[in-house]
Symmetry: C2
Subunit: 204 residues, 2 copies
C-alpha cells in the first residue's frame, strides 16, 4: 500500500501519529529521571534516545515541549542533569503509565510505583528497579525550529550495568537484562537474539 505526500497530509491526526511513530522501526525504551531545584522529581518514558558518539560518550534525546514530558524538559534545562534508565519487562506497564499528564508536584515515581534512588553528587534520580542506568550532563540544547521539538545532547558521566551482562569486548546483552523495545506509541516487545555478526569487510 503506497502513501504519497498528499495521502499522508490527509490522514486523521491520531491515525497519522500512530502510523508515523511506527515507521522508523523499533525504538529504545528509556525512563528519563529529572528533578527541579526544589528537589521535585519527574520520570517520563521516552523512545527518542539516539547514540551520537562514543568519545565523548554522547546521547541525543528529542523532546516535544507540549506534552506530559514538559516538566522533564524544564528540569533538564534548569539542573542540566538527568538519568536514562532502561525499561525492563518487569515494569514496562508502570513505565508506560508515566506518560499520563500528572500535574506539577506529582512525582511519577510515586504515581506509578517505581523507586527513586539518589546517587551522591548527582541531582537527578535513578530508578532502583532498573538494571541499566546512565547519568548524563546536558552539553547542548538545540531547539529545532522546523517543528518546535528540542534536541538535547548529553554526555554520559555515570554508567551502572550488571557486570554479568557485559561481554569481553564491551558489548552489553540487553536481552539478558530484560530491556524491552517499543514500536509506535504503545507497543512493547521482548527480544530474541538472532546473532552477532563479524565486523564487515569488503572481502568477507
Amino acid at each position: 500500500m503506497i502513501f504519497t505526500s498528499d495521502d499522508l497530509q490527509r490522514l486523521d491526526t491520531r491515525y497519522r501519529a500512530a502510523f508515523a511513530n511506527s515507521l522508523t522501526g523499533f525504538k529504545a525504551a528509556n525512563l528519563v529521571g529529572s528533578a527541579d531545584a526544589d528537589g521535585n522529581q519527574n520520570l517520563a518514558i521516552m523512545s527518542s534516545a539516539v547514540h551520537l558518539g562514543s568519545h565523548p560518550f554522547l546521547i541525543g534525546l528529542v523532546l516535544r515541549p507540549s506534552d506530559a514530558r514538559q516538566h522533564t524538559l524544564e528540569n533538564i534545562l534548569e539542573l542540566r542533569s538527568y538519568t536514562l534508565n532502561h525499561v525492563h519487562e518487569s515494569f514496562y506497564q508502570e513505565a508506560h503509565q508515566t506518560a499520563a499528564r500528572y500535574p506539577r508536584g506529582v512525582s511519577e515515581f510515586v504515581a506509578v510505583g517505581l523507586t527513586a534512588e539518589l546517587v551522591e553528587g548527582f541531582p537527578a534520580p535513578f530508578i532502583a528497579e532498573a538494571r541499566i542506568r546512565l547519568g548524563l550532563e546536558l552539553r547542548e540544547h538545540h531547539p529545532l525550529a522546523i517543528n518546535g521539538t528540542h534536541l538535547l545532547i548529553g554526555e554520559v558521566v555515570l554508567v551502572d550495568v550488571p557486570d554479568t551482562n557485559v561481554a569481553e569486548d564491551g558489548s552489553v546483552d540487553l536481552g539478558a537484562s530484560g530491556t524491552v523495545t517499543i514500536s509506535g506509541l504503545d507497543c512493547y516487545h521482548r527480544v530474541q537474539q538472532l546473532g552477532r555478526l563479524a565486523y564487515a569487510k569488503p572481502d568477507l
Copy 2:
C-alpha cells in the same frame, strides 16, 4: 558495576565503542538508499533514525562522515533525496555487510546481493526485498560541532507498507513484517510482542 566519567575515559577505544553503542537501548535497523547525480547507488545500514514529528512527518538521521557511510552523506546532500528501508530477518546478514568500506563506484546493492528498485520521480533507490520502505526529502542539515557528526532532518514523502500489517488505528505491526532491531554495533534480534497499552491517563 559502576563506571564513572574517569573510568569511561580510560576504556580502550574499541571496548568503549561497543559499550557505548549498547547503552541507549535497542535501535532501529534501517538501510539507507541514496544515489549521486550520475546515478551511482549506495546502500548503508544505520541504527540512528529517530522520529521527530508526525505533522509534518519528519525523521532525524545521525551520520558520522568518517566511516563507510561517507558516500551516503555526500549523496543525500547532493540530491536531497534518500530512502529508509526496514531490515527484515530474511536479509539482516546482507544488511550488516553494507557497513564494509567498499570503494566509491561499487554499489552495495550489487556487493551484498540486494535489489535496487526505482520509483518514478524519485532519484534514490529503494530495496525490492524490503516490505516497509520510506522515501524522504532532506529538509535540514545540522552539522553537530560537538563531535563532528551530522543530523539530517528529512520529511517522509512516500510510504510503502503491507496493508495487512496496518491496524485500524494506524499503528504498524513491525514484528509481523519481519523487521529486526539492533543492539550495540552488531547484534540483531527478532521481537516478541508483550502487549499494546492504553493511552496513559492519571486516573487509570
